[in-house]
C-alpha cells in the first residue's frame, strides 16, 4: 500500500477501508506500507498502523514499513515502532 501526502486523522477512514479490502485477498503473507510519498505522519497515523498491525497479526501476517524518510522516519523512530514493526529506511 502506498499512501500519499499526510498520513493523519483525515486519511483514517480511507486507509482502514483500503486495508480491509486488501486483507480480503487470501494469498497475502506480508503487508508492506510504502512511505515514499508520505510527507507527514501524526499520532492518529501511528494509531492506524497499530490497528492494522493488530488485525494483521491475528492472521499471522507481518507488517513491513518501507522507505520511511525525513520527518516520517523521525516520528516513527521517536515512537520506537522498530520494536514491533519491520522497518526499512529510505537511504536515497
Amino acid at each position: 500500500m502506498s499512501p500519499i501526502g499526510s498520513f493523519d486523522y483525515h486519511s483514517q477512514l480511507v486507509f482502514i477501508e483500503a486495508y480491509k479490502d486488501y486483507l480480503k485477498n487470501k494469498e497475502i503473507n506480508q503487508v508492506e506500507i510504502d512511505f515514499t510519498e508520505v510527507e507527514y505522519i501524526d499520532s492518529s497515523g501511528l494509531c492506524m498502523l497499530l490497528q492494522l498491525r493488530k488485525e494483521v497479526l491475528a492472521l499471522g501476517i507481518e507488517v513491513h514499513l518501507v522507505k520511511c524518510g525525513g520527518i516520517v522516519q523521525d516520528i516513527i523512530d521517536t515512537a520506537n515502532f522498530g520494536q514491533i514493526f519491520k522497518i526499512s529506511m529510505n537511504r536515497g
Binding site: 499520532s43 501511528l46 494509531c47 492506524m48 498502523l49 497499530l50 516520528i75 515512537a79 520506537n80 520494536q83
Partner: protein, 564 residues
C-alpha cells in the same frame, strides 16, 4: 402568525379612498384590520396592535413609507412581520428604496385584489417558515451556549486536577497550548517527602475530548503513586497496563517520567515516544539528552512492556527541557516545522532565566496566524544538586540497592501521642505494604492482623482500656466513648511499628509492634467465645499467622505472616 381567519392586517395609506377600499376588501376576507394614515402613526399602531402583515403606502405626510418600514423592521427584531409596499411598479426608484428599507414585497397601485389575496397567502407561508427557523436558531444557540459553558467548566475542573500542587513556580515552569478546547497533553509533577521531584509529561494520541478523557485517570494514578514514592518502573508498568486495558485499539500515550533527586545528584528517566528530554547547563551546553528508547504506553501488554530507566548523574546546576511532539512539529505559515535544531538554538542564545519565555515566544512567532494541529506543551525544570551531602547520599544509595537486590524491605514507624490521636495508622500502613509487593488476596488478612495488633497496643497498652467493658449491655458504646475521651487526653506514650519482608526463610512478613505502656496479660487463657466479639483478638491473630510471640511484659509483639 395567527390562523388565516384571525390574521390582523395593518393598512397604512393617507388617501382616505384607498384606505377604505383596502379595509373593506380585507374585512370581507375575514381579517381583522387596523389602519394608519402616515408612517409615524403606523409605528404606533404596529406597537400597540402587533399586526401580522402590513400594507404600506409610499408617499405620506409626517413620515413616508420607507422610513416607517426601516423603523418597524428595527423594532420587530427577530420577529418577522412582512411589509408589502404599495407603489407603482414602474417607479424603479421606489422599488430600490423599498428594498433598501427592508420591504418584503411590492404590490402595484391601484391594488388588484386577486393579487393581494395571493400575496397574503405567500406571506403567511413564509411567516411560518421564518417562525420555525427562528425556533431552530434559538435552540441551536442554546445548545451552543450550553456546550460552551460545559466545556469551559470541564476545562476548569481538568486544569485544577492536573495542576501542579506542591511545586514552586520558579522550580518548574510549563506551557500548554491545546489544539482544541481540551488538551490531550499532560504535565504533572509533585515532590515527595524525601524531596524528590517526580515529573510526568504525556501526550495522548489524538486530541480534543477523546484524548482528554484519558488524561484524568492517567494523571491521578501518577500522582497517587508518585506521592507514595513508587519507583518509575512501577509507575510506568502500572500506567502501561491501565492504558493498554482502557484505550481503544491502536491508541497509545507517549510519556516521559522523570525523577530528580538533587540529594544524590541523579536524574532518572523513562522516555517512550516523546521527543528527547535535554539538560542544558548555564553556558548553554547540552549535558545529556534522553531519547525515546521505548514504545509509548498502552501498546505492549504487561509481559512485553519494558520499564527500564536511564539514570544520569549531573553535578552542576542546569535546566531540563521537555516538550511534546506538537512543539517540534508546529507548522508555520511557510509549512515548515519548528524542529529540534531551532529549539536548541533558541535556548542556547538566551541566558538561563530567559530561555523558557524565549522558546514560547519563538514557537508562537513561528506559528504566526496558523493554528497548531496538535497540542503543544513545554516544561522547564530548574536543577540544583546539593553539594554537601555527596558521601551520605552515596552511602544511602548503596544500602538501598542491597535491600532491593534481595527482594526484602523494611518499614518502620514511630508515633508519638499527637500523631496517634490524629492518624488512622492501619490504613496508611496497609497502603504502603500493598505498594511494595503483597498480593491483593492476602491484604485483607494482613489488615486484620495489623488492626488487632495496633488496637492492642493503643487501646490496651496506652489507653489502658479494659475489654471486659464490651461485655456489658451497651458495652460497645461505653467502650468507644471511653476510648474517645482517653485518646483525646492522651499525653505522652509512643507506638513503634516495624514491618519487614524477609526472604531468607521462605517469604515472610514480619510485624513487630511495641508500645510504651505497661503491657497486658497476654498469656492469660482467654476462652475463644469471649474473644470473638471483644477480647484482644489474639486467637484471631494466631489463626492467621505462622508465629505469634509476645515479648517484655506484653507490650511488644512479633508476628510472622506467610506470604504467597
Amino acid at each position: 402568525m395567527r390562523k388565516w381567519s384571525l390574521m390582523k392586517i395593518h393598512i397604512v395609506d393617507d388617501t382616505p379612498g384607498n384606505l377604505k377600499r383596502l379595509s373593506v376588501f380585507c374585512r370581507k376576507q375575514g381579517f381583522d384590520v387596523v389602519t394608519a394614515t402616515n408612517g409615524k402613526e403606523a409605528i404606533e399602531v404596529f406597537l400597540s396592535e402587533s399586526p401580522d402583515l402590513i400594507l404600506m403606502d409610499v408617499t405620506m405626510p409626517v413620515m413616508n413609507g420607507f422610513e416607517a418600514t426601516t423603523k418597524i423592521k428595527a423594532l420587530a427584531k427577530d420577529h418577522w412581520v412582512p411589509i408589502i409596499l404599495v407603489t407603482s411598479l414602474d417607479n424603479e426608484d421606489n422599488l430600490i428604496k423599498g428594498m433598501e428599507s427592508g420591504v418584503d414585497d411590492f404590490l402595484s397601485s391601484p391594488v388588484n385584489f386577486k393579487i393581494l389575496h395571493e400575496k397574503i397567502k405567500v406571506m403567511k407561508r413564509l411567516s411560518g417558515l421564518q417562525k420555525n427557523l427562528n425556533i431552530n436558531l434559538k435552540e441551536l444557540k442554546e445548545y451552543h451556549d450550553k456546550a460552551e459553558m460545559e466545556i469551559s467548566l470541564a476545562k476548569n475542573v481538568m486544569d485544577k486536577i492536573i495542576g501542579l500542587s506542591n511545586i514552586d513556580q520558579n522550580a518548574l515552569r510549563h506551557w500548554i497550548m491545546p489544539a482544541q478546547h481540551f488538551s490531550g497533553d499532560i504535565i504533572a509533577a509533585t515532590k515527595t517527602h524525601s524531596n524528590k521531584l517526580y515529573a510526568f509529561i504525556a501526550d495522548v494520541a489524538g486530541h480534543g475530548l477523546q484524548a482528554a478523557l484519558m488524561v484524568l485517570p492517567i494523571s491521578q494514578i501518577f500522582y497517587t503513586m508518585a506521592e507514595t514514592g513508587c519507583s518509575i518502573v512501577s509507575i510506568a508498568e502500572e500506567l502501561n497496563y491501565r492504558v493498554h486495558q482502557q484505550i481503544h485499539t491502536g491508541g497509545f500515550v507517549a510519556a516521559t517520567f522523570i525523577i530528580i533527586d538533587t540529594f544524590s545528584g541523579t536524574i532518572e528517566v523513562w522516555n517512550g515516544g516523546n521527543p528527547p528530554l535535554i539538560i542544558m547547563n548555564h553556558q548553554g551546553e547540552i549535558l545529556h539528552s534522553w531519547k525515546s528508547i521505548h514504545l509509548p504506553l498502552g501498546i505492549l501488554n504487561k509481559e512485553a512492556f519494558n520499564a527500564k530507566t536511564e539514570i544520569h548523574t549531573v553535578k552542576s546546576d542546569a535546566q531540563l527541557f521537555i516538550c511534546s511532539d506538537g512543539l517540534l512539529e508546529a507548522q508555520g505559515e511557510d509549512n515548515k516545522f519548528f524542529g529540534p535544531k531551532k529549539m536548541i538554538s533558541v535556548l542556547r542564545k538566551e541566558p538561563p532565566e530567559h530561555r523558557f519565555t524565549a522558546l514560547v515566544d519563538a514557537v508562537k512567532k513561528h506559528l504566526g496566524n496558523q493554528l497548531a494541529h496538535d497540542d503543544i506543551s513545554l516544561v522547564e525544570i530548574q536543577y540544583r544538586p546539593e553539594k554537601q551531602h555527596k558521601s551520605i547520599a552515596q552511602d544511602v544509595k548503596k544500602k538501598k540497592s542491597k535491600l532491593e537486590e534481595s527482594g526484602s524491605w523494611k518499614l518502620s514507624l514511630q508515633l508519638g501521642s499527637e500523631k496517634l490521636r490524629l492518624l488512622s495508622v492501619v490504613p496508611i500502613l496497609l497502603k504502603w505494604i500493598n505498594l511494595l509487593d503483597i498480593r491483593k488476596s492476602q491484604s485483607g488478612a494482613i489488615f486484620v492482623v495489623l488492626s488487632e495488633l495496633y488496637t492492642n497496643a493503643l487501646d490496651h497498652g496506652l489507653l489502658k482500656l479494659d475489654s471486659k467493658l464490651k461485655q456489658l449491655p451497651d458495652g460497645f458504646d461505653l467502650y468507644f466513648s471511653e476510648r474517645k475521651s482517653r485518646l483525646e487526653n492522651l499525653n505522652g506514650g509512643t507506638i513503634e511499628i516495624e514491618i519487614s519482608k524477609i526472604t531468607s526463610d521462605g517469604k515472610l512478613l514480619q510485624i513487630h509492634i511495641k508500645d510504651s505502656g505497661e503491657g497486658f496479660a497476654h498469656e492469660m487463657d482467654v476462652p475463644l467465645e469471649l474473644t470473638a466479639p471483644s477480647g484482644r483478638g489474639i486467637p484471631l491473630i494466631k489463626s492467621l499467622c505462622k508465629e505469634v510471640r509476645y515479648l517484655g511484659d506484653g507490650n511488644e509483639a512479633i508476628v510472622h505472616f506467610e506470604l504467597d
